[in-house]
Symmetry: C2
Subunit: 222 residues, 2 copies
DNA sequence: TAAATAGTGTCTCTTAGACAATATTAT
DNA sequence: ATAATATTGTCTAAGAGACACTATTTA
């Protein structure tokens, strides 16, 4: 930030790319778009775009998210900034990566208006290779998400407002990639005190109907 | 990163700024430089500078760190990227912030060659206001450092290769800002298995001499 | 009544935290 | 001797994990 040091060229461009997660079919899935133009034409990529001259990084991420999915007011968090000189053949491009969590009831079945072609993929089974260094970005996002799941209540961002404890457990299992003990899981959620039972139940086909719960927002937001 | 979206102006500039921590006088201290030119002339700022055209972000941070302090091969970690449009009156400047940890035996008493004027300050008692949004950057760095201290072995980065357990405890206390129980602290360090006793002792004036230990590097680096 | 899902309690082990006395050195 | 620092163990409480049966619904 200081004015000391040599001045850089003016040709640095900055993008905000967003790793958009949701839960579909009890699996953690990520939204990818197929590139219609070079470089990496035809390859799948993490959605994103250039930051506008008078736009904050967060605003750019929110805008791209809206353009890709139509959703607003979802969990959005800056992840990491990628800036290797050779990562974009068009020139110096620095990418501020974000990740977003969208509950399945808000996630569009397919892409929004912006993308030529977009699709959801299981987060650990995306097509390869992805464009640019997007596999590294995706891996970083997965690490962050898994890490935060254990010590925060971030899992609720991937569920509708009303949900069952079994649904919540399936979200955790999908993200962590391992099955959890039902009793221990419920005990832990109960101990956190972040869940409030509602006066409703839902039956999912056969089986005993499940009680619905709502997220009781704790102290911290971000 | 996609080529969709409107193109941004070419005038975005990117800096790498580094929050450099060390331990001095049993306190966590941070290196600040006094700005010699506008904007914020005369104000204290976090050291940093523009990223060169063919330089990675990490390389830029390493270079700035070397220019400010002369040290290399210390803990250096990307922190967060700050990009509010109005944060630099000269135009659009995006700052990728890093934080570095330097052990007191390697930290220069004052600044290196690059800075007009540089000085160490207790991390929670810096001059105010700092230039730009550097108070927010510093606060973010402090949060990250405190958070990592509890679940990683990052404290060793702030000590020489040989150290006593009392020194290590003082580092933790200085960062967390609270005093710790000596027996519980040693128990926890022992349980981590990341420390190896040496065949040496040192006496610090009066009192029983203390055994020296060395850091036994665990599985993970970053 | 069979199949599917929801819901519930105990025991054990590990971990975190409170807590005080002894050991070794310099002055 | 006194002051200064280093070193060490127990008890308790809370949290994590293993583990199996009953309850309610649909087909």
């Amino acid at each position: 930030m200081s004015a000391r040091g040599r001045s850089t060229s003016d040709s640095v461009r900055v993008t905000a790319d967003i790793v958009i997660f949701t839960i579909r079919d009890d699996a953690l899935q990520v939204l990818l778009v197929r590139r219609g133009i070079p470089p990496f034409e035809g390859a799948w990529a993490i959605p994103g775009g250039f930051v506008l001259p008078d736009e904050s990084l967060d605003d750019a991420a929110r805008r791209e998210l809206r353009e890709e999915t139509g959703v607003e007011d979802v969990w959005l968090e800056q992840l990491y900034t990628f800036g290797e000189p050779g990562r974009d053949p068009r020139g110096r491009v620095i990418t501020v990566a974000y990740f977003a969590l969208i509950s399945p009831d808000r996630a569009p079945p397919l892409a929004g208006s912006d993308a030529a072609e977009a699709s959801w993929f299981p987060a650990d089974r995306t097509p390869r290779p992805l464009a640019f260094d997007h596999e590294a970005i995706l891996a970083t996002a997965l690490d962050r998400l898994r890490g935060k799941l254990t010590y925060t209540s971030i899992g609720f961002e991937l569920l509708p407002k009303k949900f069952t404890l079994s649904q919540l457990q399936r979200v955790h299992e999908a993200i962590l990639g391992e099955s959890l003990d039902k009793r221990n899981f419920r005990k832990r959620i109960d101990a956190l005190g972040i869940v409030r039972p509602l006066d409703e139940s839902v039956s999912a086909g056969a089986g005993r109907p499940a009680q619905l719960f709502a997220f009781r927002r704790p102290k911290t937001g971000h």
